[in-house]
C-alpha cells in the first residue's frame, strides 16, 4: 500500500528563519504521527504544510487522497445551528455529519447556534467535521485544547476507529494524547 503522506527532507522557513529542516517521515494506512516540540518550534506550520496551506522551502511532500484539517480556526457560520453549519461542509465532503456529531457527543446541541457554543463544544464541532469528512488523512493541530476528559476520550476512540479503518493521523499536541504506536516527530 502506498503512503498517504510522505515528507522527504522538508524544510520550513517562516519569516526568513528556518524552523526545521531535513524532516523525513512517512505515514501509511493505519499509522499515526505525534508531533511534539516547544512553542514556536513549527508544529502548526508542519500541519499547515501537510494540508498544503504553506509553501515548502525545500524538500518534497507527497500526499495521496483527501485530507481533513482541524486547527484553531472554527470555520463554522456563527449564526447557523450546529447541524446546519456542519451540513455546509457535509455537502462539500459528500458525507452526513450526524454520526460524527453523535461520536463527539454533540447530538443534543444540533439545534443550538454555533455562536452559543462553549470553547470545548466548538472544538468538538471542528473534530466532528474531520470525522464526517471521510478523508483518509487527518491533520489535527492541538486537538485536545479545550476538550474535557469526556471529549478527549471520544476523540481518542474516533482516532483509533479511523486508524482501524485504514486512515492515518498526524496530531500536533503539547498535551498528553493517547495515540498508540504513533511515530514521534520531535521538533526543537
Amino acid at each position: 500500500m502506498s503512503a498517504l503522506l510522505r515528507f522527504v527532507s522538508v524544510t520550513c522557513v517562516r519569516g526568513g528563519r528556518i524552523l526545521f529542516g531535513g524532516l523525513d517521515f512517512t505515514l501509511e494506512a493505519g499509522e499515526a504521527a505525534l508531533v511534539t516540540g516547544p512553542n514556536g518550534a513549527g508544529k502548526s506550520s508542519l500541519i499547515r504544510m501537510a494540508a498544503g496551506l504553506l509553501p515548502i522551502a525545500a524538500g518534497r511532500l507527497e500526499r495521496d487522497g483527501a485530507t481533513a484539517l482541524a486547527d484553531e480556526g472554527l470555520a463554522l457560520d456563527m449564526k447557523l445551528t450546529l447541524r446546519r453549519a456542519l451540513a455546509f461542509w457535509g455537502g462539500l465532503d459528500g458525507g452526513d455529519p450526524a454520526p460524527a456529531m453523535g461520536a463527539m457527543g454533540l447530538s443534543r446541541l444540533a439545534d443550538v447556534p454555533v455562536a452559543m457554543l462553549s470553547t470545548g463544544q466548538r472544538k468538538r464541532a471542528a473534530l466532528a467535521r474531520v470525522i464526517a469528512s471521510g478523508a483518509p488523512l487527518w491533520l489535527l493541530d492541538e486537538p485536545v485544547n479545550g476538550l474535557d476528559s469526556d471529549g478527549q476520550a471520544r476523540l481518542e476512540a474516533a482516532m483509533s476507529a479511523h486508524r482501524a479503518g485504514g486512515g492515518a493521523i498526524i496530531a500536533a499536541s503539547h498535551q498528553p494524547l493517547a495515540l498508540p504506536r504513533a511515530k514521534p516527530v520531535t521538533l526543537s
Binding site: 498544503g52 484539517l69 480556526g73 470555520a75 449564526k79 461542509w89 462539500l92
Partner: protein, 213 residues
C-alpha cells in the same frame, strides 16, 4: 460552487448586510435634493451623477466583511484543504456579492429617481448603467477586500486602493446620464466593468493565497 454562492447570499441576508448598501443609497438620494434645493432642471441634470456616486459607495460598503471574517475563521483554509481553488472561492464571492447588492440597487433606483425628479429616459439610462456597472463595483470591492484581509485598520487603505480603480466606472456610469454621449459611455462602462470582473477572481485568489504565508 452553488453551495458557496448560496452561503454568500445567506450571510448577506442574515447579517442585515444586504440592507445596508440599499439604505445608504436611498439615504443619499433623499439628502441630495435637500442639499441642492427643489430646482427640478438642476436636479435632473445632476441627479444621475449623484446616484452613481451613491451606488459606487454603497457597493464598496461591505469591503471589510467580504473576505476577512472567512479568513480569520479558517473558512478559506478549510476550502483550500478540500482542493477548491482560491479563484473559485473568489468567483463565488463575487457572484454572491453582486446578487446581494446589484439587483436591489437597481430596484432602489426607481424611488431614488423619483426623489430627484429624474425624467424617465434618464432613469432608464441609470438602470442600464447600473446593470453594466455594478458587477465592476462588486469585483473591485472583492479585490480590495482580499488585498486588505489580514491587515489591521484597513479602512483608509481600502479607500486609497479602491478609488483610482473606481474612477472609470464612475466617469462612464455618470456619463450615461448625458443624452449626447450615452451610447459610447455605456460601451466604455461595460468594458471597464468587464475588465474588473475578469481580473477580480485571479487578483483576489492570489491575494488570499499570499495572506496565508
Amino acid at each position: 460552487m452553488t453551495a458557496l454562492i448560496l452561503r454568500e447570499l445567506r450571510l448577506a441576508a442574515t447579517g442585515g448586510h444586504a440592507l445596508l448598501p440599499l439604505v445608504f443609497f436611498l439615504l443619499v438620494a433623499t439628502l441630495f435634493p435637500f442639499a441642492i434645493g427643489p430646482d427640478a432642471p438642476l436636479l435632473a441634470r445632476t441627479g444621475g451623477g449623484a446616484l452613481w456616486v451613491a451606488a459606487l459607495l454603497a457597493g464598496l460598503l461591505p469591503v471589510d466583511r467580504l473576505i476577512e471574517p472567512d479568513r480569520a475563521a479558517g473558512m478559506l483554509d478549510q476550502l483550500a484543504v478540500r482542493g477548491i481553488a482560491e479563484e473559485s472561492v473568489a468567483l463565488a464571492k463575487l457572484i454572491g456579492h453582486w446578487l446581494s447588492f446589484g439587483p436591489p440597487l437597481m430596484l432602489a433606483a426607481f424611488p431614488a429617481a423619483a426623489l430627484m425628479k429624474l425624467p424617465g429616459e434618464i432613469l432608464l439610462r441609470v438602470e442600464l448603467g447600473l446593470l453594466a456597472g455594478t458587477p465592476g463595483i462588486a469585483a473591485l470591492t472583492l479585490t480590495v477586500a482580499a488585498l486588505t484581509s489580514g491587515l489591521r485598520n484597513t479602512g483608509a487603505l481600502a479607500g486609497l486602493l479602491m478609488l483610482p480603480l473606481a474612477v472609470p466606472i464612475l466617469i462612464f456610469g455618470a456619463g450615461m446620464s448625458d443624452p449626447a454621449g450615452s451610447a459610447g459611455a455605456l460601451k466604455l462602462l461595460a468594458a471597464a466593468s468587464l475588465l474588473l470582473v475578469a481580473l477580480a477572481p485571479f487578483a483576489a485568489g492570489a491575494a488570499i493565497r499570499a495572506a496565508r504565508s
